[in-house]
């Protein structure tokens, strides 16, 4: 099943774009509320100014003018909150706007946080995230690629949970490896699917929701580019855990 490196990167790029595209729906939804609020507030501010001008020019009803001002003041706090929400969306998308990248010393927890921030809106209220981060050293790796791996695993975890559930992200130093475990309380993996889930194009999701590339790419990145391993355990009906192990000192000249 090996293909030319050029194809590898094309497949990875297509998958990245597709997953960003699907994420876009959540992004639009997340931006809509603060933007709607900001638009309404600016209309209210303009109307308030008109009213205040009349009140001031007329030199009457100072109580009414104060009420209009108080009303305006109550919106300033909302404006700030709304802007913060928009800024948070932008901040959480930024790490994923870059593809490729170079090897560098990286804190794996930062990459996990980046991926978690991005899925938070789609998870919100439905899924509780538990971070069980241990003491782990920085490692030299391809941060862009690993961030995408963690996103793929977290999106899968979220998609496996129907209704409410829990996703746990656990990290530990384990001998000469870092062990990252992403568990969900979702529907689990059927025994007959077990041998196939890392195959390129295998998906149990409806078209538009899955391309079946997420795990195949994750495995290429973890094993091929980092000399690590990825495997899973699952109880059908009771969730799944994906284990990623990355060597702390990987000799990159070996690949």
């Amino acid at each position: 099943m090996a293909s030319a490196p050029a194809n590898e990167s094309v497949v990875a790029e297509v998958h990245r774009m597709a997953s960003v595209g699907r994420m876009l729906a959540a992004v639009v939804h997340e931006l809509n509320t603060p933007i709607a609020s900001l638009l309404s507030n600016s209309q209210t501010a303009l109307r308030s100014i008109e009213l205040l001008k009349d009140l001031v020019a007329g030199g009457r009803d100072p109580a009414r003018a104060m009420a209009v001002l108080d009303n305006l003041a109550s919106l300033a706090a909302v404006d700030e909150l709304a802007c913060e929400r928009v800024a948070a969306v932008v901040r959480s998308l930024r790490p994923f706007s870059r593809a490729g990248g170079v090897r560098c010393q990286t804190r794996i927890h930062d990459l996990l946080d980046d991926a978690l921030k991005l899925v938070e809106w789609t998870y919100r209220r439905r899924i509780a995230v538990q971070r069980d981060f241990g003491e782990i050293p920085e490692i030299e790796c391809l941060p862009e690629a690993l961030r995408q791996v963690f996103l793929n695993l977290l999106v899968n975890a979220g998609q496996a949970i129907e209704g409410e559930g829990v996703v746990t992200v656990r990290t530990r130093a384990e001998g000469d490896c870092i062990h990252i475990a992403i568990s969900d309380t979702g529907k689990g993996i059927r025994p007959e699917d077990r041998p196939r889930i890392f195959s390129r194009g295998f998906t149990t999701k409806p078209a538009g929701e899955g391309t079946g590339l997420g795990l195949a790419l994750a495995r290429d990145i973890v094993t091929g580019a980092h000399g690590g391993s990825i495997d899973f355990e699952s109880q059908p009906g009771a969730g799944a855990t994906f284990h990623v192990r990355l060597p702390i000192a990987y000799n990159r000249h070996a690949d």
Partner: protein, 159 residues
Amino acid sequence: MQTNAQPVVMIVDDEEMVITSISAYLRLETEYQIDGFTDPQEAARRLETNPVDVVVTDFLMPKMNGVQLLARSKQLQPEAARILLTGHADKQNAILAINEVGVYQYLEKPWDNAQLLLVIQSAIERTQLFRQLREKISELDAAHGNLKDIQTRLLRAFL
């Protein structure tokens, strides 16, 4: 339920900032009483005891969606106008559900304040007309009952 002297507008959205923005605008332009709820179940309980003229609700909310809330509102206060104010992403599902409850208006976020106000104003008028009509009908019923009564007594007295 009787007609409210001061119109009551119920606003339900799990996002506090939506309630704050709409309330601030309505307070500026109207004398309406505004009841905001971030919890649709709490809003539904309020409808059991307090008459409202309009319910404006979001669609996608935890615990209870907007259409479920409007169905409850229809049951408890059939005259109160029902308005759905929803994000674009939920449109498809919202429209499917709208047919079940009968919605006065469907608006999308972001909304235009002036348009929202127009919709709420005409919804209140409609609600109050319905309530007045019902009061008149029950007055007529009472008057009719009185006439019946007199007729029976007359018949009894003379026949």
